[in-house]
């Protein structure tokens, strides 16, 4: 944990990987080498470039990775634009970890897990998936449904096909929005693909993606017989402090930065739909 | 002003208007807020009296987009703001039914509002009908419009600078002056634009003292009707309207008398050029420091 609220530590970008036309994954180490801090899957960190801005990003790497942290970041604003043009060796500021985590050691333990992600929504789930892979004996079947606009927009494609797809006990279902040359897999939106695949309403589901995809996916899951208390998602709102004090990221009486970002759907249903 | 309420009710009843933009009674005589009334039951709380200081013109910008006509109650000075908004195509005339409401000067707990102390007169610049009384046509206030500006002009430059520094240093940048101003109708204010480099929520530098209010005054110059809302709403009691009034006084002296919100909007002092216009050098001649 960063020792002081609001005061970050310095980190160094040690590798920049181009994932998709608008997503890059940044490997970050502390100045002394090693990780900046320990975290649990689903937790976030505040990254900043002084003079440009500071924002919250989910930690994409698994805590089981002992060497570095990774952040998959989509270029969509001022700060992310700046991050996208930086090279290896660039220092950035890092503080965290913030928020809660997916209950990998509690509610998810011993369960079959269904991961459903859309676009950059894979970033927070990747941390859980790799955590589960590292502690395979603690979990049941793992199924991953992942969709993006096109083949090029699938984040972490090499890791997915070279590692996840080849691992026993993991089923990966990929889909893209539009037909594309050289793509022989499924074509269609994530929620309808989930319906098409059909899943037994047991185990736990982790969903992350654009709000509209989350909405239709949960609807599809409910129709299959899943209960709200089996489904988890992770939220994102504008944040400044990361510690429940600056007052802007609340949904009802819950701060996304502190009480979230991971919410179980039954809890989320008790809160105003102001997100 | 029972007549205004009765007329509003009948215009609602016969379908001429869909809603009434007026004032609502609050906890006591001075506690009255702008409000929207859509039926007779809601009109129970309608009030028009000496506590209706707020200028409803600014609300018309948003209200004009609603379906059907809106009845708006405007005091004489408010009609100048409305007409200026018409000139700037910020409101459509057809979207409103305007009752020009007579005014004997508006008050708050401390007495007559500053803007009413130097009342600009009781003529209505735009209206569908006027409801007033003889008393409403009598002059309000005894302060000459430029009295306080002249006082400032008579100061030395150093004194004047100290005066404004003292006043503006109290600014907390709450933006009430900007948000209430009927001339401030930019969809996105430059000071709210993170890309502008001048966005600021707090006096990190002496920006408020030196720049913010001056920039705002210049931006509304020639369009400011001198409605005085900026000073009325300032929680820090800064007499912001004096900056605008000074600009109005200068424009009147340099280009001839002009009142924003009147006229045909074809030739306004700052948007038209004549060979008789003052040369920029006038700044040096007029400055006394």
């Amino acid at each position: 944990m960063t020792k002081e609220t609001l005061v970050p530590m310095l980190g160094i970008v040690t590798e920049v990987r181009v994932d998709t036309p608008d997503v890059k994954t940044f490997r970050v180490n502390s100045v002394e080498g090693g990780k900046c801090f320990e975290h649990m899957p689903g937790q976030c960190a505040m990254l900043s470039i002084p003079g440009v801005g500071e924002a919250m990003f989910s930690i994409t790497s698994s805590p089981t990775n002992q060497e570095f942290m990774e952040f998959s970041i989509k270029k969509c604003g001022c700060l992310t634009g700046w991050l996208h043009q930086m090279d290896e060796g660039q220092m950035i500021t890092v503080r965290g970890p913030y928020g809660n985590a997916f209950p990998v050691e509690e509610d998810l333990k011993g369960q079959d897990l269904l991961f459903i992600a859309g676009g950059i929504g894979l970033a927070p789930l990747r941390s859980v998936i790799n955590y589960v892979r590292a502690k395979r004996e603690n979990y049941g079947k793992v199924r991953i449904v992942y969709g993006a606009r096109s083949k090029e927009d699938l984040v972490d494609y090499p890791e997915i096909v070279n590692e996840w797809c080849r691992e026993a006990g993991i089923d990966v279902f990929l889909t893209i929005d539009q037909p594309q040359e050289g793509w022989e897999g499924h074509v269609g939106f994530v929620p309808s693909y989930v319906t098409e695949l059909g899943f037994d309403p047991q185990g736990r589901v982790l969903v992350c993606g654009p709000p509209v995809m989350i909405r239709f996916t949960t609807q599809a899951l409910m129709e299959m017989g899943f209960e709200k208390n089996q489904i988890y998602t992770t939220m994102e709102l504008r944040m400044k402090c990361g510690v429940g004090k600056c007052g802007r990221c609340n949904i009802g009486d819950q701060y996304v930065c502190k009480d979230g970002p991971v919410f179980r759907f039954d809890k989320l249903g008790e809160l105003p739909a102001e997100y | 002003m029972k007549k205004i309420k009765a007329r509003a009710l009948s215009l609602l009843a016969d379908g001429t208007v869909k809603r009434v933009l007026g004032w609502e009674r609050g906890e006591d005589a001075f506690d009255c807020s702008p409000a929207l009334f859509e039926n007779e039951a809601e009109m129970e709380r309608f009030v028009y009296g000496t506590c209706a200081g707020a200028n409803l013109s600014k609300y018309c910008v948003k209200m004009g987009k609603a379906e059907g006509k809106t009845l708006v109650i405007l005091k004489p000075c408010d009609t100048l703001s409305f007409r200026q908004l018409l000139h700037e195509h910020r409101v459509e005339r057809d979207a409103f039914y305007i009752i020009g409401a007579g005014c004997t000067g508006m008050m708050d707990e401390n007495g007559l509002l500053a803007k009413c102390a130097a009342c600009k007169g009781k003529e209505f610049a735009v209206y569908d009908e006027i409801i007033d009384t003889e008393e409403c046509r009598l002059p309000t206030g005894t302060e000459k419009r430029m009295e306080q500006v002249e006082k400032l002009e008579n100061m030395t430059a150093q004194e004047r600078f100290a005066f404004w520094q003292g006043e503006l240093s109290r600014c907390i940048r709450c933006n009430a002056c900007r948000n209430v101003c009927p001339a401030c109708t930019c969809i996105k204010c430059v000071f709210d634009n993170p890309g502008s480099g001048v966005q600021s929520k707090a006096p990190v530098t002496d920006f408020e003292e030196n720049m913010f209010h001056i920039i705002r005054a210049y931006h509304v110059a020639g369009r400011c009707t001198d409605c005085g809302e900026c000073s009325r709403v300032c929680p820090q009691g800064i007499p912001l309207h004096l900056i605008n009034r000074k600009l109005i006084k200068d424009m009147n002296e340099l280009y001839g008398d002009y009142q924003a919100g009147l006229g045909d909007n074809e030739r306004t002092p700052l948007t038209s050029f004549t060979k008789e216009d003052a040369e920029p050098g006038i700044i040096h001649e007029r400055g006394n420091g």
Binding site: L237, K245, R248 | I172, A202, P203
Partner: protein, 338 residues
Amino acid sequence: MRKFAAEKLEQLLSGISMPVYAPVEDGGTVIYGRYEPGMRLRLDKLGTDRTPKEVLFPQWESLMHFKMEGKKIQLTEEERANEDYVLFGVRACDMQAIRVLDRVFLSDPVDTYYAARREHGTIVGLACDAPGKNCFCKNFGVDPAQPDADVVLWPAGDEYFCEAYTDKGHALLNGWDTLEADECAVTAIKEEIGKKYDALPFAHLNLNGFDGEHLMEKFESPQWKKLSMACLGCGSCTFSCPTCQCYDIRDYDTGNGIQRYRCWDSCMYSDFTLMAHGANRPTQLERYRQRFMHKLVYFPSRNEGMYSCVGCGRCIEKCPMNLHIVKVIRALGEGEKE
């Protein structure tokens, strides 16, 4: 219980070796400013134009500095406050507001910038001998006769009664030349204050249903549309409020590096929750609702029923359109209290 002659007050304040922040005039407004001998104290002013929160949580403060050189960043933290001071003349409502701020800034993880200022201050409370028509503090569990401060003063004509309640308070009061006083006199003063308060228009509001249990009911009330209609979206209420503490963190290029600072922000502003893909409170209705829901529902839901309104009445006085919290309580509540 001790007492001293009212005419000695300025002398006592001048004799304090630490900086003293007290209600003083600033161009027609009253602020908690640095007191210097000869300044006119405004202990008569209820609902000062600017609040004591500014002493603990200023409108803007520097957090840290960065030097950028090529790919390198150098970070220097701003020094935390380290000078003892006295915050003088804090009313019971404003003192409760400081307790609200404590809940936010001193809860885990502690905000060390605030904590340092809080730790170095000794707060002298001032009982309200004449609560005004905008006062409604008792609704929120505040006793206008008993500020929850290190030292409390009770004005009584040409005398002040005083008592210390904490070590810091005793340390301050021990340095003052005071006389032994009778407890009973203060009991009578407190009773008198209670009577005056009870006669006020907003003395007894009904806060039934303003809690976490009724969160969705309050949130979904159709009243918000009407209540928020006239809201200009300015920050007068938030900046004048003794408990509003939402803040922004920004970077400023000083020309000689980057200064990261914190400044007050307002939930009334359109960019408060704005992200690259839009805002989750897109119109003034949502922003207005957020402010009052936070004070009356969200905050108590997270803080064992403690409201983050203290009934100081400043929003009644400051809102340009008179859209104050009492109206919200009446419109959303269950009517008058019996």
